[in-house]
Subunit: 683 residues, 2 copies
């Protein structure tokens, strides 16, 4: 509890929940008292009783905790402004307008959350950082001096003077595109106007409305992935997401993966430009959808934040990603970009700004920076490994003493690509798998239903979606369960039916496959082939090798905790990930999911201007490791192709799971030698 010495002898005012207190002159409006005492009480209209942002709830009676008794007449009675406001727009019972109610006697005043400028935005995960609402853009209502031919000055200049006085900000600038509408807007509002001020890099008027603007202002947080684009439309006054939508990245027609898009740019003279246009067109469609879904005027979208990997970054900004396709992976720019949305072809209001988070390195993008912003490894007390699992895995290792980052080329297997029955995570896809270690019979769950396949009603439950394939988390669980059930050995080889003890192992060319689902008239047979296992081994080995490389650099053999980020990361079971050896051994309860941390980071950057400074500073401090040229990366990769690993001990895993000591290579199956050379984990 702070007690501010105001040098006054008038009534004592105590604000809750801040606990700030001090004496003010009798008759001081509550809003003025709040400002004198440094209390966070909002006001857009500057105390004119128009915006109602400064609503407060005065207490009455005995406040033992604060040592005051509040008389019923501690505040001045309702005045005409409050009466009019209550009559026309309605004031909640017990509420007062802080700009009108005057303090006459000692009083305790509660500032409800919605009246705080820097409101806290609720995040669902307990371990996540709080987001404090402090966006780059704010509204300010002002009354502008009328023109006087004896003291000629421009309407723009008088508006800026009024804004400077109301906000205390110096050197406010004015977007040129607003000039043509300025004179009509001022006259329509009878010299009252609401301005949107974008505060970075210098305070700038970016939108104007006549009179008091009721429609709010909005922002976009966009995670621009190689495969999908996810956008959130956010209310910049409440901080709430009011619409979310996604679409396939239209660049997919130029190449499924990033390197094939880089190649398309190299092979076609206007290839990079076509891809830039495609992604911008897609974004513009997405923004229209979001505005329609939320039922807002698109012209109120005034800020936006974007995250993406380096290749998408360059294509989005209109840069040829050619140099990113080859060492030394030179970025045209890696710094955060503060642009006008129109400069990068976005069909938003002309004053709308676009903030692009900084890149970390040639392979570690703004999406990774956003993960760092969301997960804060640089503020961690214990040593955290943060992995954003996608087509590339971005990996951070560190704590508050320092953070390292690298990227590892996992490929698309984790997203269901390169898997014989693989598909994206969508209704109809197998997402969870269990295999009985005795009977070696499987059961599974399908996206769209909560029932396991051996439960009553399963067939009916999936009738609408069908059973169409297996998604990334499904194949990971299937492979891990097969390993735990002794159907597959450490090297990744599936045993023949007689060796592994189940007729579900069937010959498949020179290797074997495990029949996860026999199929029926409505759905195909779903196998886990040895090729599928090989693809998962390659992907998880790349992920592990990247993490292990950072651990080498840090000089450690274990980490305190693991955070799995990425929409896919949210669905990975920690135990199965560890059976595969995707992540370093650690206590299972220390493996957590951060959900779509990149998207969250974009939302944080949209909502909190200080977070932009923070991440710009953090990316400079992060030590970047280029896996492609680290000799030990290959060695770690080779060891990590085994499940869980040919060289590293996994003591925590061993304490909860005993993996069958099987080896299906002894039988001299085809391809065994090849596998042994690459796997080396089956001895």
């Amino acid at each position: 509890m702070t007690d501010t010495d105001t040098g006054k002898t008038g009534p004592l005012v105590i604000f809750t929940p801040s606990g700030k207190r001090g004496r003010v002159d009798p008759g001081t409006p509550v809003l003025t008292a709040a400002r004198q005492l440094g209390v966070d009480l909002d006001s857009v209209c500057g105390g004119r009783g128009i915006c109602s942002k400064c609503q407060v709830t005065p207490g009455v009676g005995e406040f033992a905790k604060h040592g005051v008794t509040v008389a019923p007449d501690a505040l001045s009675p309702f005045n005409s402004v409050e009466e009019r406001y209550d009559r026309i727009r309605g004031l909640k019972s017990g509420r007062r307008l802080g700009c009108q109610a005057q303090i006459l006697k000692d009083v305790v005043i509660d500032v409800p959350p919605e009246s705080q400028v820097h409101k806290q935005v609720v995040r669902k995960r307990a371990e996540a950082r709080d987001i404090v609402l402090d966006p780059a853009i704010r509204l300010q209502y002002v009354e502008v001096e009328e023109p006087d031919m004896h003291h000629p000055s421009g309407d723009r200049e008088r508006l800026l003077a009024a804004l400077g006085e109301a906000t205390g900000l110096a050197g406010i600038k004015f977007d040129h595109h607003l000039l043509p509408t300025l004179q009509p807007v001022l006259r329509q509002g009878k010299w009252a106007v609401t301005a949107a001020l974008h505060l970075r890099p210098e305070p700038t008027v970016t939108a104007l409305w006549p009179g008091f603007h009721e429609g709010g202002i909005h922002g976009l947080a966009v995670d621009l992935g190689s495969t999908t684009i996810a956008g959130h439309l956010v209310d910049l006054v409440t901080g709430e997401v009011i619409a979310s939508s996604g679409l396939m990245n239209p660049q997919i027609r130029f190449g499924e993966d990033l390197m094939s898009r880089v190649s398309y740019g190299m092979m076609n003279p206007s290839g990079a430009d076509e891809m830039t246009q495609a992604v911008r067109d897609g974004l513009n469609r997405l923004f229209d959808e979001l505005a329609t879904e939320a039922g807002i005027d698109k012209a109120t979208i005034l800020d936006s934040a974007f995250v993406m990997n380096p290749v998408m970054h360059h294509l989005f900004l209109g840069l040829d990603p050619y140099e990113l396709g080859q060492a030394p992976f030179a970025l045209a720019t890696g710094a955060a970009q503060a642009l006008r949305a129109a400069e990068i072809g976005l069909d938003l209001a002309p004053g709308t700004r676009a903030y692009v988070l900084p890149l970390i390195a040639g392979h570690v993008g703004a999406d990774a920076a956003a993960v760092a912003l969301s997960e804060q490894p640089h503020k961690s007390d214990d040593l955290a490994l943060v992995v954003d699992v996608g087509t590339n895995a971005e990996i951070f290792l560190g704590d508050k003493s320092g953070v390292m980052a690298c990227s590892s080329p996992t490929g698309p297997a984790f997203e269901g690509a390169q898997i014989s029955s693989g598909q994206r995570a969508a209704p109809g896809a197998i997402e969870r798998v269990e295999i009985d270690p005795v009977t070696k019979e499987p059961r599974f769950r399908v996206i769209g239903s909560d029932l396991w396949s051996d439960e009553d009603g399963f067939a009916e439950a999936i009738a609408s979606t069908g059973l169409t394939g297996i998604c990334g988390s499904g194949i990971i669980e299937a492979v891990a369960e097969m390993r735990m059930a002794g159907i597959v050995d450490a090297s990744g080889l599936i045993g023949a039916a007689d060796k592994c003890g189940t007729e579900r192992s069937i010959p498949d060319g020179r290797t074997h496959a495990y029949v996860l689902w026999q199929g029926d008239e409505d759905s195909p047979r779903i196998l886990v082939t040895n090729g599928d296992i090989r693809a998962i081994q390659m992907a998880k080995a790349a992920l592990y090798a990247g993490a292990r490389l950072l651990m080498d650099k840090r000089g450690v053999d274990t980490v305190d905790r693991v955070v799995l980020a990425g929409a896919f990361g949210a669905h990975i079971s920690p135990k199965h990930a560890m059976v595969l050896g995707m992540i370093p051994d650690c206590p299972l309860d220390k493996v957590t999911s951060a959900g779509n941390a990149a998207g969250t980071g974009a939302r944080i950057a949209l909502l909190n201007i200080g977070a932009r400074d923070e991440i710009e500073a953090v990316v400079h401090q992060i030590e970047k490791i280029e896996t492609a040229v680290e000799p030990r990366f290959q060695e770690h990769f080779v060891n990590a192709t085994a499940m869980p690993n040919a060289a590293e001990p996994f003591p925590h895993l061993a304490s909860i799971v005993t993996l069958p000591d099987v080896d299906f290579n002894a039988g001299g199956e085809g391809g065994g030698r090849r596998r042994r050379r690459r796997g080396q984990g089956d001895s």
Copy 2:
């Protein structure tokens, strides 16, 4: 002569013409010594022997004035860089490259004008301020660190670091439009690059060339008049005008004068937009012409400065001038505009900036601000009246203790409009007139010939142009000469032939006209009608009344000097102007012409960044007088319709010219009463 204490005991170096001197360590390059001693020596390449901007001329022998003897080996001999430069590009005899020549012994070094950063640009008029070359834009050659995958950073970031180091400037920004070409440019230049830095409002890279850029950089100074647009293409390295051109303002098709254009905008929904487009199209044509005429690459035009009246200002910036058509004449903005040329539809390089000088008031424009910048009334020791004569006259009265300004609606008569035989100043127009006070016979000169009409060979001399009409300066001289010859009286009435003593006075409706030229088969008869005289009286009365109003406000009856600005002002004869009473009485040798001071002011703002600060400050300090609402303006106007004036004494004029005391109203000619009511000066 300054002697800088460098704390060193090595050889003494004296730079001329600055006289700066000090001791340096033996072996110090001349460029380094110049920087240590604060000598203005240019260098774009930062001492790499590439740009040759730092050329100097060392002296040899006895320098009694400086008290040193310079040995032949005072500087190090030619090194390989200088030898190569001399072989390939040639070094003038006696010259050295300042970045290569090292100081070994006491030496006197002359910095030639072209090696100074802040060169002086020659102005022809002795009384004019000097223009010091210090443009908003500069070139800098740098070598950029190559990318290193172990220390990933963007090419842009490494370029900015190199520029920051080379220039000492902090926080250099980078135009987004350059990003797509940055990577190819750096690689084409083998990591050497020349950047154009625009210094306002913060240093920003606005153009890039691979390697060392040889093509120079250019700027445009544009005077955007209601009738004509004049553009100068300026070399920003030398400060010289390399091409000048003009065109009719294409807006003329929407209205000859400004108020008819304002009306066009009011009457037609997209009228203002059409006029904006017309003037921008015209400017783009002009810029193409200028670049072609000078033979330069238009992409090297990187800066521009614009001056114009308030209505043209608004139309140029895309603003509806509606409010300027009525009190209180509210400007949308009057502040100086620092824009990108592309923002206002100019087809220049994407990084090109446009600086628009500030307006002074609703009727006093950026062209007037440019006149103030050129003529500097705010720095005058004596009381100066500065008049920019055009369709409106902008008038300044003041000295270094303070300046007032107003605008007065003279109308287009001074430009030859509303005159029976009037035309613009062009070949074939009568520009000078003399009338013999005894014979009352005229002689005149025609634009395009130096001969008077009574000289031998005149007919041949004007054969090619013909004799087509009379321009503004011609009609002023004609009317003044008619007044001096007693053909017209103080009220402006032309006497009948018998009253004024010449058969050249012929009846013309209810009044008379004077036959200036009888005409022949090739040319029309040219009369000065009483209507012409009336038009000149109205125009000159408006001009005088504005000046007199400022004198009232200042509390003076006389001024120390008069400056006539404007292309037309350059051609007005001071004596004739004073006979008419256009300007207040003062010694004739104190009436000077400033030529196209508005255009000069635009060029000053283009060439000197400090001048932009200066004029932005000065326009705030100027006291603005709105003539339209000053009651005394009308009184001064009525008095000033007489020639020279019905109320004011003109003692200096009286001392050199005796005006005939004639009065042609007594004869009861038609219209006399009407004229008396308006003129009142004929008593």
